[in-house]
Symmetry: C2
Subunit: 165 residues, 2 copies
Amino acid sequence: MRDEVDALVASWARERPDLDLSAMQVLSRVSRLALHLDRARKEAFSAHRVVAWEFDVLAALRRAGAPYTLSPGALIRETMVTSGTMTNRVDRLVHRGLVTRSADPSDRRGVLVTLTPEGRDTVDGALGSLLDAERRLLSGLSEDEQTQLAGLLRSLGLSFTDLAA
Amino acid sequence: MRDEVDALVASWARERPDLDLSAMQVLSRVSRLALHLDRARKEAFSAHRVVAWEFDVLAALRRAGAPYTLSPGALIRETMVTSGTMTNRVDRLVHRGLVTRSADPSDRRGVLVTLTPEGRDTVDGALGSLLDAERRLLSGLSEDEQTQLAGLLRSLGLSFTDLAA
DNA sequence: TCACAGAGTCTCGATATCAAGAATCTCGCC
DNA sequence: GGCGAGATTCTTGATATCGAGACTCTGTGA
């Protein structure tokens, strides 16, 4: 079977036969899959009245374990956004009652963001739906293929970050 | 070697030992790789004074072949954005002198967007830098591994779009 | 003890996107 | 020959992001 990327590469090959397009075969597929995955996540979250950026923040707090508290700086590192974005996100989550913001007793510059019980219920529900949706999306691949794919993606990601460093 | 996703999954496993997290092993890596890839593309394009959304539009026109003309509707389908976004993009590309906008002689509702010679030079240069960067990012994988990865991603993408349909 | 480099967070302005609806035009069908 | 459903593009308003700089506080070294 041919996919959209095969068509993409064929078009380029026709217009630019001088170029080596093999890298596109891998990386264009990664980008396109990520786009489709974003849509699927959005869909899975909608039943829990959560959007993706909200889930990202709530999930980072949930993963941290009780008492479900992290600094904005830690949330920035977990979610890979800028500080201005995180301030804005925490504001809106506080307004929705899913997290609280309090002063860090041990550092007066600092702030602590904590999941509320409602925030915890929300993120636990959304995670369940997300995993259901993801399993469905992966159902076309055998278990072996999934393992193999995860391994190759791990290798690729590790060499990415090595090159960036 | 362990990567960020191994750590992510380990955190969830500690907090939610009741859940099957295997899908994350694949799909979280896809999302994270796409993020890193976006940064790398931005970097590769900067030498040509182009940003990613500009490249996406110019590349669609370039791939179409001479006379490098497509309708906004065709560009929307190629780049997967909404019509409002495309209107805005074409406006700015016209302003930069990289494309022209003209009336479609055969359909008075329609518009035709055409690459200028400067637009063509720009996209050809940017494509070269992009492919160089992508090859560098893939250099940690053997040729066989790259082929295998491309094949698995193709299968996954095809089953995605089947499920959506 | 007091500057000061740096950490941590927030503010502000610029930018880009989407969704929904408006405006215009085409074409099949009665 | 003109009605109306649908195609095509643009407009508008809401939303979210980033980047740069401001502000406050910490902790080290003179």
